[in-house]
Symmetry: D2
Subunit: 354 residues, 4 copies
Amino acid sequence: MGFNILAELERLRTEIDEISIKILNLLNKRAEVVKKIGLEKEKLGIEISNPLREETLNSILCKNNKGPFSNEAIKRIFKTIYDESKDIQINKDNNISNLKIDLGNGIFIGKDCLPIMIAGPCSVESEEQLDKTASFVHETGVKILRGGAYKPRTSPYSFQGLGEKGLILLNKYAKKYGMLSVSEATTIENLKFVEKYCDIIQIGARNMYSYPLLEAVGQLRKPVILKRHFSATIKELLLSAEYIRKGGNKNIILCERGIRTFETSTRNTLDISSIPILKKESYYPVIVDLSHSAGRKDILNSLLLAVLGVGVDGIMVETHINPDEALSDGNQQMNRDEFFDFMKIFQKFLDLGI
Amino acid sequence: MGFNILAELERLRTEIDEISIKILNLLNKRAEVVKKIGLEKEKLGIEISNPLREETLNSILCKNNKGPFSNEAIKRIFKTIYDESKDIQINKDNNISNLKIDLGNGIFIGKDCLPIMIAGPCSVESEEQLDKTASFVHETGVKILRGGAYKPRTSPYSFQGLGEKGLILLNKYAKKYGMLSVSEATTIENLKFVEKYCDIIQIGARNMYSYPLLEAVGQLRKPVILKRHFSATIKELLLSAEYIRKGGNKNIILCERGIRTFETSTRNTLDISSIPILKKESYYPVIVDLSHSAGRKDILNSLLLAVLGVGVDGIMVETHINPDEALSDGNQQMNRDEFFDFMKIFQKFLDLGI
Amino acid sequence: MGFNILAELERLRTEIDEISIKILNLLNKRAEVVKKIGLEKEKLGIEISNPLREETLNSILCKNNKGPFSNEAIKRIFKTIYDESKDIQINKDNNISNLKIDLGNGIFIGKDCLPIMIAGPCSVESEEQLDKTASFVHETGVKILRGGAYKPRTSPYSFQGLGEKGLILLNKYAKKYGMLSVSEATTIENLKFVEKYCDIIQIGARNMYSYPLLEAVGQLRKPVILKRHFSATIKELLLSAEYIRKGGNKNIILCERGIRTFETSTRNTLDISSIPILKKESYYPVIVDLSHSAGRKDILNSLLLAVLGVGVDGIMVETHINPDEALSDGNQQMNRDEFFDFMKIFQKFLDLGI
Amino acid sequence: MGFNILAELERLRTEIDEISIKILNLLNKRAEVVKKIGLEKEKLGIEISNPLREETLNSILCKNNKGPFSNEAIKRIFKTIYDESKDIQINKDNNISNLKIDLGNGIFIGKDCLPIMIAGPCSVESEEQLDKTASFVHETGVKILRGGAYKPRTSPYSFQGLGEKGLILLNKYAKKYGMLSVSEATTIENLKFVEKYCDIIQIGARNMYSYPLLEAVGQLRKPVILKRHFSATIKELLLSAEYIRKGGNKNIILCERGIRTFETSTRNTLDISSIPILKKESYYPVIVDLSHSAGRKDILNSLLLAVLGVGVDGIMVETHINPDEALSDGNQQMNRDEFFDFMKIFQKFLDLGI
């Protein structure tokens, strides 16, 4: 009897194999149509992805579903099919080469460019602090000065930044030393000021999910650094970038700055693998904010070589003329000497010409 | 020889014990002064916590530090002392009883109140959808109608809500059935509309870190539901609440809605322990958004009893006249029958009168 | 021209719909065959799942795949199909009612039973400590005494337990007060002693992935409490249980004890949603270790009502005659008075008769 | 009146400053004694850390504590002091230079050595598979062959390895090509076989918390690769290493292999920052298992340069003569051509002579 059952099992398995191959062939046939749709859409200039379309198709499937799979099971299986199909459309974009973004002053980031360094204090605190810091930053050859004027701080009692006054100072001292400037916008209101005074707009990690702000940035044409939220998946970061790109601003630089995990030795866990994945799955340049990733200065030099090795397009770090008296994030800002050592390693890497 | 070393070890340990007790006594002496400062500040109406003060003290300590502890080690040790000292000041607030917030229409939440239910569709989609949904929601005895008009969606191609038109509909049908209304504001701009049309303002999880928006809410006096970001610690949620309270708006309702973890069986991991902790560490009412926590309908009835057991002040859930055709989050919205079963359990619990 | 493209788009979409429905029908046809295979296997008493079979089928599919989907994409899509198909086989098991496990002494856990309480010290430390603790635990009506003899401690310099001597004491004092005993086995070697002296074997969270140990437990017939690793998904816990069941031991009690997340207010994050999910996806009783989940005593009473509300089959907690002098986990063990309060709440819930 | 209060506030703050400086001085005095104890212990050859000692001191402190700080608060503050004090003792060890471990065959890892490569199939599957794979691995210059014989698999129905037979094959083909061999032990029983047939013993991530197994390894003298559990903190990994070292086996190689986070683009999140931290906080060599970290082959070449940049002592990867037919982890094993490309990058880096 057991023998008959085994024979029956074998027969059923062959049936499964045959049905599976039929499904396989239909999947590929479907993928061919998806590719065609992608080409048509490209002609029209419409976006590739369209979740409402998926919802419509799901309704059709649920109406036609007679089981034994539940509607939920069918939706889950088709979700995988939709996801894989998107990749087929996106792969088509591989013809589009990676972006090279003009930041101004003859400085470019992205395709065929050497990695760039962005440095400066966490916050603009005073004329003297900024002048002195900008001076030694410039001395090392850095071309882009960072400095926060609108600081999103966890506690309402922490220093919140100098606002527009900070931006004016940043603009003044970036110009004094012939550098470009970058600062963070946190609302649609202060975005106007950041755009007015800075060469590059930064959207901080905490605002990666602030879609109306991203849409407002999409209306501008200045380059924007979009930081990954500390709990955002790579996919969510790319969808946030899409909020900007959809408005017409393609000058997007993605920035990994560490994700929140159970590990507490570092402030965040630098997700080094996200860099090659972001470069594969998008055509935007990718930079890393080392200071926020590590939250400690003693491993920055090691991490610098890691991210250069992995092929990052740029690096952002914090440095301060006097970190012990900094009004924010003093622990993670390098002082002058530490920054000079750091830049020596960076320069040595550039000299290797890899 | 080993014996001499052991004796020496014993002597050194006694020395450690003695120094430790001296430190202990100084710590408590310091705590007494901290308490006095808290009382003085209360007279002045100043905030309890002041991180700038900590930074100043850290500078003093670093200047006086002769080692062997490094400045960083000293700062870490004192950070613990600062943190524990804050608790001593906050404990004082235990005299202030927990809040009871007047939501309007004779409905209250918080101290000495029975838990309330907030229900409605994820998004306001159309006049018909809202009317029908509000009708059966009202039928079960629910007093507060929810419905999104400004939807923060991960993809820019998902349905983004009806905006002001959605708020007008929400207002109309809440009134038709004698219910209060709650909807989410996502920018300082649309906050004005939410305040105009709704009885309760919701700040969604994605905006828990949008401090300028929180400050704007702090200027209002309408009750606000502040949702915990899916990657926010309990402490960060309380600090975000402080951004609102600082502006003068104490009508804050905290909302747990699940945190992001490695587990994928649920959309988020409902952090049930956060509820008693939030109630201990603040005087705000605490509610739970069950739909977003679970992201699946089949366990809602079980979770309802869990959060009622733990002593929640309210519950928020999503229900839709036709979830399969919902424009957002169809999977997690209960249909009419499911919602009636859910409410029967809720009512049964209320009847127990525990 | 744009119009023609739109018409073409529409045509292609209809084609997608049609192919999708064909795939849908084949998926359900395949599911029917899968169900039949499940029934045949049941006759033979073979396991339901068989990953090697999936690997074979994947090879067949890869050989037949002509693109545009890559082999990896096809494997990912079919993985979803395999996963959903398993559920169809397992759903069949819904006829098998949930387990009711005989623990001895007329005590049962699971289907149709009231929730049981398991309590006792973290570690067996001495005859006096155990006698006194067991005495007041018994006084509250608890029927099962816990106590660790082999303690897996993060640091090699922490107290590691009394070993066999501890088990002998546990056995002695459980019997003295007419209670059952449970203790943890950490190796195949000490499993023999735990089986000899205890009524219930515990596999701790750290050993949930120790498959040879699980297989050894599968050869026994004594009831076993299998704790979820603090980083294990629900699926992994069920697969670990399957290592035991496969050997013939079905007397498995699953135990949620908190998972590791970024939140630090609690030692672990109690994953309350895992309880209804585990009860849906398996037929094993589910208990919760409240002490390890919370890691703090002040919220245990609240959490107790949460897990009772959610429908747990049992609860495990730690209590100690003198927690301040405990050799392990003193912070999270209740003292006598705290435990009496805790048990009053438990008894009150039982009296409600829900 | 407000003025008087402000003056009083100022006075109280000065008092806080003064007490804080006294605490600071006592902390440093205490640290001096701790250093002396460390020196004495070194003479005796006793371990540095002793948690029981901390528990004793905590009891003393609790007995002497008169508030306002609670006993819990005092214990938390002193925990920070204990932790920082340990670092002072460990810093002393900086005199001890990093380890250089003799692996046999004239191959060393660690201090002053070039990074080494360990490669081979996930599992030993057959004589032919291993011979072919070992052949091309050897061709690229790799000196150490890996291959699993005891496979801890999440599902009991997955291929579990060939056991001792697999080890015999591994030994045979490592010798044939003049390579060293490494394989994983999963129980105290099979550890004997791994030690007998292999040059290096591997403890897998799932067994990092299996302390009795670690203690058994500590009794041996063969080099051991200790993998970090995917949810282990850096500190826990070091404490697990201490279980081995305590037994007398100092030939420990730590292995980062990715941690479990919410990100799903990679199988695990490679914690690149752990490498410089492990090298700072211990004197063990540190390697990275790239295959398990990434779980996908397409980013291995990028990650290779990242870990080489950060200064890793070695790399482990999986390669298979025919990954599509592999019995385990086929997706993440490189085929011959992919491995040759990978090794070209590795060789190029070595040639740079950095």
